[in-house]
């Protein structure tokens, strides 16, 4: 009897409702996108015809989960970026929408976009941001198939670490450093998209320590040495998240550099440090040709081993370890 009445339990009904709600939100977002296309014609044929909040839209830069980015010009001809939020995302993330505006209002750095305004009109809700020079590292790597040299990797690493030093000194965690969120024009690297940026917690608890419970162990490191390194975990409030994501970006760049990778055909010349260990499916620290200091630095950045207590320390160590890559 009890089983037959289990149909009436509400949590099962709420699953269906959640599914329906998701479908409803998807339909609402689709409708929003269609409406936006009608209100703001940014196709190539009608280029420059739309004006949003006094800014003339020139082209669509790209889109993501949050919405889309448009390139526009202000009346003085200065290029800006209009970041348009999907209505659904704004409603679903109502408690966290303001962080980007607040955090960008408090930052002033050439490698960080400046918040120039907020537009709330019929065609949508926008943040007006200054445009950073260059294109994303993702475009460099996967659209233009660029191979980064050691000097370029060093430059990008140092410049991004400088930005992180500034951000962390202002208690800001970017939280979303990736190939898509780093712009580079060949001289200057800059960081964009502060949608997931947050302030550091005041008193970090056990879940926001510099090294989380998912810390991996180094396979080639003896247990005693590993324990000694990870014995003291610095309590620095999530800066390790930015460090790890930055290291991830740098590893992508290193893999694009032919001199740093060990492909099967190239391992025969005998000049590689770890040539004998490189194999198919090997870990990055076995594949990349890095010195011991460089490997240690990258491992600490990415979280294998004792993380850096501060970004200043991480930047200094990176500079020292990769100094011979500097031209």
């Amino acid at each position: 009897m009890k089983k037959s009445l289990s149909f009436f339990r509400f949590p099962q009904a709420s699953k269906v409702v959640r599914l329906l709600s998701g479908m409803f939100c998807t339909m609402a977002d689709t409708f929003d996108a269609v409406l936006f296309r009608m209100l703001v014609p940014v196709s190539a044929g009608r280029r420059g015809s739309a004006v949003i909040g006094g800014y003339r839209v020139t082209r669509c830069l790209g889109g993501g989960r949050y919405g889309m980015c448009l390139q526009a010009e202000d009346p003085n001809g200065r290029r800006v970026v209009l970041k348009r939020f999907r209505r659904g995302m704004r409603k679903r993330n109502a408690g966290g929408n303001h962080y980007e505006a607040v955090i960008l209002s408090g930052l002033s750095h050439p490698a960080v976009p400046e918040l120039l305004g907020v537009i709330n009109e019929r065609s949508g809700y926008y943040f007006v941001l200054s445009q950073q020079p260059g294109i994303t590292l993702k475009s460099w790597l996967f659209d233009r198939h660029k191979e980064f040299s050691r000097a370029e990797i060093y430059r990008i690493g140092v410049q991004l670490l400088d930005v992180l030093v500034y951000l962390h000194s202002r208690s800001v965690i970017h939280g979303d450093i990736s190939l898509s969120n780093v712009m580079d024009d060949g001289k200057h690297a800059s960081l964009i998209d502060f949608g997931l940026a947050r302030y550091m917690p005041t008193r970090p608890g056990p879940d926001v320590r510099a090294s989380g419970p998912g810390m991996r162990s180094m396979p080639d490191m003896p247990d005693a040495a590993h324990n000694a390194e990870s014995a003291v975990i610095p309590d620095s409030g999530r800066i390790d998240l930015d460090h790890a994501r930055l290291a991830d970006v740098l590893l992508y760049l290193m893999y694009s550099c032919d001199a740093l990778t060990q492909r099967p055909g190239k391992a025969r010349d005998g000049n590689r440090e770890h040539g004998a260990r490189a194999a198919k499916g090997a870990a990055w620290y076995d594949e990349l040709v890095l010195t011991a200091d460089q490997l240690r630095c990258m491992k600490r950045l990415i979280g294998i081993g004792r993380p850096y207590a501060s970004t200043v320390e991480a930047a200094e160590t990176f500079r020292r370890a990769f100094a011979d890559w500097k031209q």
Binding site: A13, S105, G117, V118
Partner: protein
């Protein structure tokens, strides 16, 4: 049958502190609002920004018993808080200890930020622009020179690190 009609059902309310609101939020009519006449008093939550690291008291907490709140003398300049067109938006936010001269676009100070004079939206502390209408609110964008976190309007010290506010 027990567990369906009777009050002995243990799984009906997974969180005993939420009561029937648990299902009201997630249920079918939670999306569209209540259709029951007995639930006419149910209103949606006003939009409010979470405090950025400031200490939070649990709901219903009163630091002093009712009617025994101590009266402090007015320190500094007092300022009349004008009526705002959308009172529900700032009803749940704590009132400011001392309102300061806000600047263009700003009306009254609170722990969460200033209220926009054009649209009545409560702007979170630190934002240079009203997030509702986009009006410029430079007086709201004050940050701690030490730790970089936003200062609430009129604050003399940073609530995070204790450094004095530089104005």
């Amino acid at each position: 049958m027990s567990g369906f009609f009777g009050s002995s059902s243990r799984r009906r309310y997974p969180n005993r502190y939420q009561g029937r609101k648990y299902y009201r939020k997630k249920g079918l009519f939670g999306m569209f609002g209540s259709m029951s006449s007995s639930d006419a008093g149910y209103v949606t939550y006003p939009q409010q920004y979470p405090a950025q690291g400031y200490p939070q008291y649990p709901q219903g907490y009163q630091p002093y018993p009712q009617g025994q709140q101590p009266q402090y003398p007015v320190q500094g300049r007092s300022q009349q808080v004008p009526q705002v067109s959308q009172p529900s938006r700032q009803a749940s936010l704590p009132a400011a200890g001392s309102g300061t001269g806000a600047g263009a676009g700003a009306v009254a100070g609170s722990a969460a930020g200033l209220t926009c004079s054009q649209c009545g939206t409560v702007v979170p502390a630190g934002s240079k622009f009203c997030l509702g209408c986009g009006a410029k609110m430079t007086a709201n964008a004050t940050f701690c020179g030490n730790c970089g976190k936003p200062l609430s309007p009129g604050a003399k010290f940073c609530m995070e690190c204790g450094a004095p506010a530089q104005r």
